[in-house]
């Protein structure tokens, strides 16, 4: 059974008091829960949040499904999100994605066997002037070449 840590639960409670209505705490609560559930949201997580927030599970589920930053299945410890939109596209994003997938031996959105990486293609991340780029968990890496990107991933602990 999923349950938040006492600190996590306290953070959710705080978010519920932070805005005019407690509904506004759904997104922040999903972030907190995703962090504590290895980077994804399961049905159990939704049920748990529904109980502690006293909001119908269907309502939380609807919000969860709408936003791309909440993962619907497990991802690697490092979620590598490569921007594929136009400015990156014309600056080598397809080659970058292809190279990373080939070298890590995975398809898009598949996890490496050791659970370390998942590579995804995402839409514009607001870093178009430093294309191509990728976001690894919370961090942006810009002005990449395929080799440079692979080296960055290899250097991660």
């Amino acid at each position: 059974m999923f349950a938040l840590s006492p600190e996590g639960l306290e953070r959710v409670k705080k978010e519920m008091r932070r805005y005019e209505t407690k509904q506004s705490a759904i997104i922040p609560a999903l972030y907190i829960a995703q962090q504590e559930n290895n980077g994804w949201i399961s049905d159990e997580v939704i049920d748990y949040l529904s109980r502690v927030m006293e909001i119908p599970a269907a309502q939380i589920n609807e919000v969860f499904k709408f936003y791309t930053m909440f993962n619907q299945k497990p991802v690697g410890r490092y979620h590598v999100q490569v921007c594929g939109t136009l400015s990156c596209h014309v600056n080598g994003a397809p080659e970058l994605i292809e190279f990373l997938c080939r070298h890590l031996g995975v398809k898009l959105d598949e996890m490496t066997a050791d659970g370390k990486f998942t590579i995804s293609r995402v839409e514009c991340l607001g870093s178009c002037g430093t294309a191509p780029m990728m976001q690894v968990n919370d961090t942006y890496y810009e002005n990449l070449t395929p080799e440079k990107a692979l080296q960055i991933l290899k250097n991660l602990p």
Binding site: Y19, E20, G84, L86, E98, E123, C124, G126, T130
Partner: protein, 432 residues
């Protein structure tokens, strides 16, 4: 060739990101000035400056503020920092380099519209800008610039950050409101406009980051001073995000009315490796494309770009050179719009699906002779019939690409490959 740094004058200084450094360069003196004025006079000042919204639609800011009901009803100010329009990365610059400038602009705006609560809605991926803003808000609260009785004026205002979670449509103002309210970020039918019925059904003003930061400059220079730059209908300076096939991509602040060719070939250093300019998308991915010839005559102001059948939008200039296949570029954009349609309106949900499917079919070499006209027809049917402007934002680029680069589309359909020599395209399965 040089930039005209009005808003961004001190952005290169590390200390400008912190309260002390910001104040050293005159920061918060315009808030002090504003707090001694009548709120209505500030609204008039912003109206007189002619400032137009920098989020995409270019609506006059002072006029929008004037739509608020004239009663004591609580009202909200929402800063749109969702910045999802492909090619745009200027709001990120403002938040990272001058968070206090944004806070000061928001405070002046809040005082002018008599609002006691605001949110900065930041796209979820902007983790670093959010951290910079959080620190700045903390500093501002500690210094008595936020909270109760600000600087002894009797005005009180609370400001908070809301982190989005990945959805382009939350940049649309009513989608943003739905999202902030804790629902799916689906746009709502207008009217009622947010100024009358917005966040929690209360009067609400939604403004872009750059718009709100510019309010500080208007207070400092006055309407005439602000109008020293720009054109009659497009006053002031604006930050343009330059990207694509250009030697020196980046953010550049120039007066509105600046020649597009000077942005690309002057400030931007031109096209890399001796390639030729082929096309320019002048205002973010939703703006119809310009041919190279049109781009050479265009100026960066609302009226010129509207006359050329496109728009200034968010000020994101995407440069495409002769190595690019226009069918491939359109396919990339259609995948984006299909992915981002919120699905509420049939013409948008179905239309973006079809546009994505047809462009991918052509790209995979399976295009039918009728597909090019079909693209145009599908797009035409998506216009002006939906809750928000995303449907048009997907349709208009299609019509411009197909009309202006028809030969490339026809060639692709007939030959099963790109007209651009040596172009081997990433496969359709690249997208998923």
């Amino acid at each position: 060739m040089k930039e005209t740094k009005v808003l961004t004058e001190h952005y290169d200084k590390e200390e400008y990101r912190f309260l002390e450094g910001y104040q050293k360069w005159g920061g918060y003196s315009m808030l002090r000035k504003a707090l001694k004025m009548k709120p209505g006079d500030i609204v008039e000042m912003v109206k007189a400056s002619g400032l137009r919204g920098r989020g995409g639609a270019g609506f006059p800011t002072g006029v929008k503020w004037g739509f608020l009901p004239k009663n004591g009803e609580p009202r909200y100010l929402l800063c749109n920092a969702d910045e999802g329009e492909p090619g745009t990365f200027k709001d990120r610059l403002i938040m990272e380099r001058a968070p206090h400038q944004l806070i000061e602009g928001m405070l002046i705006a809040a005082y002018a519209i008599e609002s006691h609560k605001s949110y900065i809605y930041v796209r979820g991926e902007y983790n670093y800008p959010i951290r910079v803003l959080e620190k700045a808000l903390e500093e501002a609260y500690q210094a008595g610039l936020l909270g109760r009785n600000i600087l002894g004026s009797g005005f009180h205002h609370d400001m908070d950050i809301y982190r989005g979670a990945g959805a382009y449509i939350c940049g649309e103002e009513t989608g943003l409101i739905s999202s902030l309210e804790g629902y799916k970020g689906q746009p709502k039918l207008k009217p009622p406009f947010p100024a009358v019925q917005g966040y929690l059904k209360k009067p609400t003003i939604v403004n872009n980051v750059e718009t709100l930061a510019a309010v500080v400059i208007i207070l400092r220079d006055g309407p005439e001073g602000y109008r020293k730059y720009g054109t009659e209908k497009s006053p002031g300076t604006k930050i343009f995000s330059l990207s694509g096939n250009v030697l020196r991509p980046g953010n550049y602040e120039v007066p509105l009315g600046f020649p597009l060719k000077d942005l690309i070939f002057g400030l931007g250093g031109g096209i890399p490796n001796g390639h030729q300019l082929k096309a320019v998308i002048p205002g973010g991915s939703s703006a119809p494309v310009l041919t190279a010839e049109e781009a050479m005559r265009a100026t960066l102001d609302y009226e010129c770009l509207a006359n050329m059948g496109t728009m200034l939008g968010s000020g994101a200039v995407i440069v495409l050179d002769d190595r690019q296949c226009m069918v491939d570029c359109l396919g990339n954009l259609m995948h984006f719009y299909h992915h981002e349609s919120c699905g509420q309106c049939t013409p948008c949900r179905e239309g973006t699906g079809w546009l994505d499917k047809i462009t991918q079919r052509i790209l995979s070499g399976q295009g039918q002779p009728a597909d090019v006209d079909l693209l145009f027809k599908v797009a035409d049917n998506m216009k002006g019939r939906t809750i928000c402007a995303l449907s048009d934002a997907a349709a208009l680029p299609v019509m411009s690409f197909v009309t202006k680069f028809r030969d490339e589309f026809d060639y692709y359909v007939h030959n099963g490959k790109s007209k651009v020599k040596g172009k081997v395209l990433a496969h359709a399965q690249m997208y998923h």
